[in-house]
Amino acid sequence: MVSGGRQFLGINGSGFISSRRRFMQGLAGVAACGTVSASGTWAAAPPKAYTPVFFNAAEWNFLLAACDRLIPADANGPGALALDVPRFIDQQMTTPYAQGAQWYMAAPFVQGPDNLGYQLPYPPCDLYRHGIAGMNAHAATRHARPFAALAPDVQDDLLRAAEGGKLVFGDVPSAAFFDQLLANVMEGAFSDPIHGGNTGLGGWAMLGFPGARADFMDWVDRYGAHYPLGSVSITGETA
């Protein structure tokens, strides 16, 4: 195994062989979405065929490109595309959460200091609509191309500008959109695959999170020993 893999596993020498085997098994599970190059780096993968329900074509292209920058495939493990994070986000947009069902959305909407929290009249689905349109409009104005068609380092600059609140999309501060996007990207990469992301349990495997194992009775006081079991999902999928 290459040094990149060793770093990714983050284990001591004695546990290395069994972990490596798990790693290879995990690899097989996500082979359809990503490949590991000879250098041990996870290559960016084309997303599996999926027809978005919520996002239109332009929005979907943005989402694919942004996800690929937020969690890129690298020596540490798969990226957001191999983990089907865009699919996760699209599916979330069909749940009550996307409509702000759990948020207090009564008027009036008065803006105040940042530390008093979110005060916009937009639920998650609206933040995506306004935010993606804003990002693409900004990209078109500055670079004459939509976000997805820009070079990765230019995309990173735009995402950093949005993160820092340096852009404004109508009445949506870019940081509000960026925070929504980043939060959902993290959820998609690391939640149970039952929700549409974390394909092949790849997010959990790179983190060393056992998922729904939920029983460490025999391991709680085995201090310093490497936990030998891989991840398992709610439906029983393993990695």
């Binding site: 920058r69 009564a106 201090y223």
Partner: protein
């Protein structure tokens, strides 16, 4: 009252809220032969339903879609840092996470189960005895509870036996009996169960704290270390450190909850009736205003219903109890300008910061293994266990490793060391390293009460039923910030003894306002406090309204100021304490229990 309102058959007792306090009070009142109706605004819930494995082992649903928590779309609070600001609605869950549904926050809590330190119960008296009255900063409303540890001890003991609490005693009946917390007061009995095993990080913290000269002990945990049958005859299974406590119903039946430890018995009692999805709008009073006649609520079908009762016991979450008192005109609302009135006075929070310690990359900290109430703490800088004289602040902070099970989405959000980007390859590397090789140490400090920190009704925003939201006026004060910074420095010494390769000490910053966007703790307190003076307390020492004697109010709202400990053990003991006095005195002679 609207046209479709209905008036139901009277009952002896209405209990408002189906959490720990409500379940304890309902159990006690049915034992006393009283008919009890429990009204819970959220849905019915059970461990067999919401806790079923493996569906319940879902971090997205549990901690990010707040399956078991309050529905903010119907009712929330507004928040501001000071009275010159416009308070704005708390629109999304973040800083604190109140519960909803049968079991309340007692279904999704972690399980840390403390007794209140004796000095905390009489903190004003203790501070004056030790340092003089001038030691109390201007604007701090420091008060005593009006009840002593000795008086509460039998009820702390009872609550621990009902909860099946795991822990190790230091002193029982004045004799040193074990390796428990050397600062803890004597107990009448051991914990019902031995302490939970230390997870690896707690084990390392215990060793290091000892080496530095502190006095580590096992956190008292309402997570059963062994199989257990409580005095009500219900059974708990042994905790397997699954890591899904906070935000979840425990699939192992190991974490104490009203749903596991009390309600299975209560639900079968012929004198008890539970009504879920019933949102109480107000307590009704007679023409004199000094006696409650029942409550009016909106039922699951949206009908407005009045339930007459001889006695009303408010057992909702801390700030909902305060709001119901304000909406019902029970007790004089607090006026911060004149420092008069009592309902809304002494609103407090908890002063928690979490520091991170990175160990050698060869050390795997297995942060996914955990029990919500488990871990190792030291109390050397909590309560009045240390000399505040030269330090010039009031209050203290236990320090602990309470590894409750860090899961993947939370790890992704936490990211890497400070300065690491929040995304991209650098984030990925830092986040994975942090998850695999770090541990977290909390300074879980007290927050004192101040004249200009309070609760009242918001003038602008309303809930789904057309009633004003509760307004919080809250900010951190210099006394509490200095306390936090003093204690966090001690964490640095422990981290060094652990052989840390990197340490990030998180201190509260002067001038940085309370931030509603970051989770801190759900341990809110005060606002309708207990005491011996009706000018400074809404409730007497038996949790009874000074003004409306057949209204009792049980919750952390009764705490006159914050504490370094988690509140549930104290709330449960206060419930049993109040119930004892209702049963032994009030039921035979209804009227004020203190004058």
């Amino acid at each position: 009252m609207s046209d479709d309102s209905r008036r139901l058959k009277p009952v002896d007792v209405v209990v408002v809220g189906g959490g720990w306090a409500g379940s304890i009070m309902a159990k006690e009142m049915t034992e006393a032969g009283r008919t009890v109706v429990m009204l819970e605004r959220g849905p019915d819930r059970s461990t067999a339903g919401e806790g079923a494995y493996p569906a319940s082992i879902d971090e997205l649903e549990g901690n990010f879609r707040y399956k078991l928590f309050q529905d903010l779309s119907k009712n929330t609070v507004t928040i501001r840092n000071n009275a010159s600001q416009t308070a704005l609605p708390y629109r999304r869950m973040a800083a604190f996470l109140p519960g909803e549904g049968v079991g309340g926050a007692g279904l999704h809590w972690s399980g840390v189960h403390f007794r209140m330190p004796p000095d905390d119960l009489r903190l004003r008296s203790r501070v004056i005895e030790k340092y003089g009255a001038k030691f109390i900063p201007e604007g701090m409303n420091l008060q005593d509870y009006g009840v002593t540890y000795e008086e509460l001890e039998p009820f702390f003991d009872k609550a621990e036996k009902v909860f099946g609490t795991s822990g190790e005693a230091y002193k029982v009946n004045g004799q040193v009996v074990g390796q428990g917390n050397v600062f803890a007061p004597s107990r009448s009995d051991h914990f019902p169960l031995p302490p939970l095993k230390d997870v690896y990080t707690a084990h390392l913290f215990r060793k290091a704290a000892e080496e530095v000269g502190f006095h580590p002990y096992s956190l008292p945990a309402a997570n059963a270390s062994q199989q257990y049958t409580n005095p009500y005859g219900v059974q708990m299974g042994p905790c397997n450190f699954c890591g899904y406590c906070s935000g979840y119903a425990c699939y192992m039946y190991s974490k104490a909850s009203p749903n596991v430890n009390i309600l299975p018995v209560l639900r079968r009692h012929p004198l008890f009736e539970l009504r879920a999805n019933c949102h109480v709008l107000r307590v009704e009073r007679d023409s004199t205003g000094t006696r409650a006649t029942g409550v009016t609520y909106t039922d699951a079908d949206g009908k407005v219903v009045t339930q007459p009762a001889e006695m009303v016991i408010l057992t909702a979450f801390q700030f909902h109890n305060v709001r119901l008192m304000l909406l019902s005109g029970i007790g004089k609302p607090y006026d911060p300008v004149r420092n008069e009135g009592v309902v809304g006075r002494n609103f407090v929070y908890q002063n928690v910061t979490t520091s991170v310690v990175w160990l050698d990359p060869k050390v795997e900290t297995n942060q996914y293994i955990g029990a919500g109430g488990g871990g190792v703490a030291f109390d050397d800088f909590n309560s009045e266990n240390f000399d505040h004289g030269p330090l010039g602040f009031v209050g203290g902070s236990p320090v602990w490793v309470n590894q409750a099970g860090v899961k993947a989405i939370a790890a992704a959000h936490s990211g890497g060391p400070p300065g690491t980007p929040r995304w991209g390859s650098a984030w990925k590397a830092g986040m994975i390293d942090t998850y695999r090789h770090s541990l977290r140490i909390d300074a879980h400090g007290a927050n004192m009460a101040y004249r200009d920190v309070y609760l009242d009704l918001d003038p602008t925003w309303k809930d789904a039923y057309g009633q004003p939201l509760l307004r919080m006026t809250f900010d951190w004060k210099d006394n509490d910030i200095r306390m936090n910074r003093y204690v966090v420095d001690k964490i640095g010494n422990v981290a060094k003894a652990m052989g840390a390769r990197n340490v990030h000490l998180t201190r509260r910053e002067f001038g940085k306002p309370f931030d509603t966007r970051q989770y801190q703790t759900t341990h809110l307190g005060g606002g309708a406090v207990m005491g011996t003076d009706p000018q400074t307390s809404a409730l007497n020492r038996y949790m009874q309204s000074w003004d409306v004697h057949n209204v009792f109010v049980i919750g952390a709202n009764a705490f006159p100021q914050g504490t370094g400990y988690n509140p549930t053990g104290m709330v449960a003991a206060l419930a049993y304490w109040a119930a004892h006095h209702i049963r032994t005195t009030y039921l035979a002679h209804p009227g004020p229990l203190a004058g």
